[in-house]
Amino acid sequence: MTITPEQVQELEHKANDIRIDIVKMLAKAGTGHTAGPLDMADVFTTLYFHAMKHNPKKPDWSDRDRLILSNGHICPVLYVTMAHAGYFPLEDLDTLRTLGSPLQGHPHREHLRGIETSSGPLGSGLSQSVGMALADRIDNGKTSGKFFYCLMGDGETNEGQIWEAAMMAGKEKLGNLVCIIDRNNIQIDGFTEDIMPLEPYVDKWESFGFHTITIDGHNIEEIADAIDQGKAVFEKPTMIIARTISSKGVPAWERDYLWHGKPPTQEELQVALNSLEK
């Protein structure tokens, strides 16, 4: 699905609006994760407003593509993007992490229609995506036209289960599986290469049987092209390593791992809005 310059510009504006709502939502809740949601806004926008086959009015439509968010803590970007796409009213964003809210601190499938799986405990999303992709292949063959998008964090891939699932995705040659890793180089305790080095990252994924593509995770055109390429690779699963800058869009917070798991205060919100509303 070739993307036009006009579409790119429209998606860039949409991603910026989503970032604004993310920081507002987090500041209001006074709890939640900031860095990952901001840096994945471009990827989520491209998926929900360009690449993915889905229908916000029919979240249970059986032929929809599936988006499996493995690193559930970045759900603020999932919630805001879904609200913008029409899954639920924007006002509900004010209820994040409160009692009875559909927007649980980490996503829960039963609390919000349109969420494919509950997540938060790291490392299990790729396994679930493998299971879904396999089940679809059993039922509908290799050309069902459904795609399974698994979104992961880079720090999350410290988990051994990720590599159990990676082996299986490679073994099963799941051409209907397109994964995107938020390669923002940070995790809670610091920089990924200090905590538990991931490089050579591309080599790792390729050796497990993935077609890999490294992109600028903030370039809408590159994101859209990489997803197209992933869908076109028939004989193996695809891993898109999206190079991102944590807390992208708010220069004062960018690359600082301390923003992984805290929300902005009201004062910090103004700093963010001054950057994002330019």
Binding site: G120, S127, Q128, G131, A135, D139, E164
Partner: protein
């Protein structure tokens, strides 16, 4: 006397009573479940023949998935398949499934509320020679505390087959616990089975019952031997097969406690957290009753024969008989 309404194997007390492992019954039941429903799929962690999944693999190769030695992945791949409408049976040894992958079962199966059937093979100390590393005696405890999870421990191979077919028809996450060794077949295919409904296998012929034994798994056969022994001594016993630990058949336990005023629980599991605990939790709140919980008392297993280990932990005929005598003192 055996409860003739349950159409049990009348040969149970004879030397030539058929012996068969519950894992074998599972393997046969899974093929029948697969025939009945094309959405039944089976996943295994490099133990396909050992957990008797090879029959399913031969019958439905396109619905069998070899996961390799990766139990965490097993549970979550099964969760993903269930989210797409499958009824996955995910198998390994109980020590690793649910032993190693508890959190994946909790979050990706139960919290997601998908109908994955966790199959834990080689459970209990009667795994014997393999030693303490492989003797899962904590699995009932860690499964029954998870919301929505149902826990089934078949008493024999026939019941394992029937239970496997039954759980394939429910929408609930389920744990089914299987044993390695051949044990007496006490039920028949005509024995009624309902998830969550205990079976009163033995009741006194004429006298009143003074002790109620509540047991799960193959030890139920030994409990029947004990009941028969006391019948001859003039002491009435009732034996309840609690094949479903969760949801527990509260009504059956409460009635038994009220009638007998003495309850002995028997299981190849830690005394903490298993069937005995489930019964004690209920009785403690609803019907305080004199009780003895037989099981492994806060230690690990070890190598030996099944007979030696059951004797050591008081789970053989003598051990159960002594417990009944002691509780009546």
């Amino acid at each position: 006397m055996l409860n003739n309404k349950l159409k049990l194997n009348e040969n149970i007390f004879s030397e030539d009573c058929e012996k068969k492992a519950t894992r074998n019954g599972f393997g046969e039941g899974l093929v029948l479940a697969g025939k009945a429903n094309k959405d039944v799929v089976a996943l295994c962690c490099d133990l396909t023949e050992s957990v008797r999944m090879h029959h399913f693999k031969e019958a439905f190769p396109e619905r069998f998935i070899e996961v390799g030695v990766a139990e965490q992945n097993l549970a979550s791949v099964a969760s993903g398949m269930a989210a797409m409408g499958k009824i996955p049976f995910a198998a390994s040894y109980a020590m690793f499934n649910p032993g190693r992958n508890w959190e994946q079962i909790r979050t990706t199966v139960c919290y997601n509320d998908v109908p994955v059937k966790i199959v834990g093979g080689h459970a209990g100390i009667s795994v014997a020679q393999d030693g303490g590393t492989h003797q899962a005696i904590e699995d009932i405890a860690i499964m029954r505390v998870i919301p929505r999870m149902e826990v089934i421990v078949p008493a024999d191979a026939v019941q394992a087959s029937v239970a496997t077919q039954a759980i394939a028809k429910t929408d609930n996450p389920t744990y089914i616990r299987l044993e390695k060794q051949k044990t007496r077949v006490i039920t028949t295919e005509k024995t009624p089975f309902e998830i969550g409904k205990a079976q009163l296998l033995w009741q006194p012929e004429t006298m009143s019952a003074r002790v109620g034994i509540v047991a799960c798994g193959s030890l139920i056969a030994t409990c029947l031997d004990v009941a028969q022994y006391f019948e001859e001594k003039g002491i009435g016993i009732k034996v309840l097969n609690m094949h479903t630990i969760k949801p527990l058949d509260n009504k059956a336990v409460l009635e038994l406690a009220k009638e007998t005023e003495h309850i002995v629980t028997v299981e190849e599991h830690q005394r903490a957290g298993g069937l005995g605990s489930a019964v004690a939790e209920l009785l403690g709140e609803e019907q305080p009753t004199k009780m003895k919980r037989l099981g492994v008392d806060d230690v690990f297993g070890e190598s030996g024969t099944a007979e030696e280990l059951l004797e050591k932990h008081g789970l053989d005929f003598e051990g159960i008989k002594t417990a009944v005598e002691n509780i009546l003192r």
